[in-house]
Symmetry: C2
Subunit: 262 residues, 2 copies
């Protein structure tokens, strides 16, 4: 399978707007079934899926030795691994513990209902924003983050009305930073529909869906959007803008919301 695919995007670079092609990284939802039970869906790159399955089982303490496994069948088309454990492994502490899996700083648990979700299109509400505003918002956004400058280890997320940044939060995980922004806006009874979200991290499908669930229609990042995020962005008409740095930006989807020219 392909690890990346080509997309056509609208690039702004120091006064020049052009349609160019570029490559984005593929996101591949991959579900591991253990003894017939759906255990976890990883969003990953579609290669070495057998090693990923084994490594996941090891890291989670589900297996410890080869004889713990009876079989591993990978179905690339379905994006699934079917694992059968031997009886020994079935008695491992992992299964006795009865605790739910937890998730890490930058993980998201949102993926499972993506296909339910994609049916609902972003409203056509005419939020439009000039590219110069995006550049200046990203500048404001970047200067807000002190922790990042010191340690290089924190992501920021922000909500903006297109004029200024209204809410800003940081976290070691980009999903957490975004959930903090969503939570704060919610607590303050703010409306999401006419806002844009900025993030320092990659726009993954999970990040995009978090935004879309709140009816936010523009997402802006310093980093790359990912393949599945772009597909969903196209599908539901959510604007994604990536690599906003200095005098540059790439508009991947929903470009009608971004105004170029003076």
């Amino acid at each position: 399978m392909n690890l990346q695919r080509e997309v056509i995007l609208t690039r702004y670079d120091k006064g020049q707007v052009s349609e160019v092609s570029d490559v984005v990284v593929c996101e591949y939802p991959f579900t591991i079934y253990i003894n017939g039970e759906e255990t976890v869906t990883l969003v990953c790159s579609p290669e070495s899926l057998d090693y990923l399955t084994l490594g996941y089982l090891l890291s989670e303490g589900i297996i410890n030795k080869k004889t713990d496994i009876e079989s591993v069948d990978i179905n690339e088309e379905k994006g699934a691994a079917y694992v059968r454990l031997s009886e020994d492994a079935g008695n491992s502490p992992y299964f006795k513990r009865g605790r739910r899996p937890t998730k890490g700083c930058s993980g998201g648990t949102i993926f499972y209902n993506i296909y339910d979700f994609v049916q609902s299109k972003i409203s056509d509400k005419k939020i439009q924003i000039h590219y110069k505003k995006i550049l200046s918002l990203m500048e404001e956004f970047t200067t807000k983050s002190d922790t990042f400058r010191d340690t290089g280890g924190v992501h920021g997320a922000a909500l903006s009305d297109g004029e200024k940044i209204l809410i800003f939060n940081e976290d070691i995980g980009r999903h957490n930073a975004m959930d903090k922004v969503i939570g704060e806006a919610f607590a303050k009874d703010m409306v999401f529909e006419d806002k844009i979200i900025l993030t320092s991290g990659r726009i993954s499908s999970e990040m995009l869906i978090k935004a879309a669930k709140r009816n936010v229609s523009v997402m802006v990042s310093r980093s790359a959007p990912m393949d599945l995020a772009i597909r969903i962005g196209e599908e539901i008409n959510l604007t994604t803008v990536g690599f906003v740095r200095g005098e540059r930006m790439n508009v991947y989807t929903g470009k009608d919301r971004i105004l170029f020219g003076e």
Copy 2:
């Protein structure tokens, strides 16, 4: 609470070795209980925990409106949020679905047994590696990753015997990349004890624990290690080396394994 803390580390910078202090980002395990049931443990930055809780509940579809919540109590000391939902919310599709949470590309579900784990110390096996080897391994590591150069969206992980890179994998998630490396080494019956792991991503506590569970005693990254990873690294005597770039590196823990001088 503090978002970052100061650590003393050994810095190599163009021929000079010195003890310096620097700041690292805090990692804070934060467990959300819903109606008395442990639901998820996020590893996050310890601020805006109320917003994080609300945002998480919204993003997961557990709540949709304020009246879905009866109360949210944050206990900072315990690292916990106790959420009581109103009866309406208890009937939401989330609870009816009966599906387990999934996790994202860069998430880890490994955290819950961290405290069980920390009791087991890394063996004192005398793996030692010269700093020049680390610099050259990182150079080899960096050139291996084509996808990253094209798209800026992929993490790499590798296993090395201190001389060369034996296994290399990439993924959109740094946890997945590392699990692929672990899985491949396992499939090939390789011994972990005398190896080092390289990663392009941050060394979080979860990444460190993945390594420690396999008895790997040296972890090397282009990026920052995080607070809790450093604490655990000290505790179990696992060597962490961060910001390995060009002619620089920082040794945070287990510095006896890194040989300086000619």
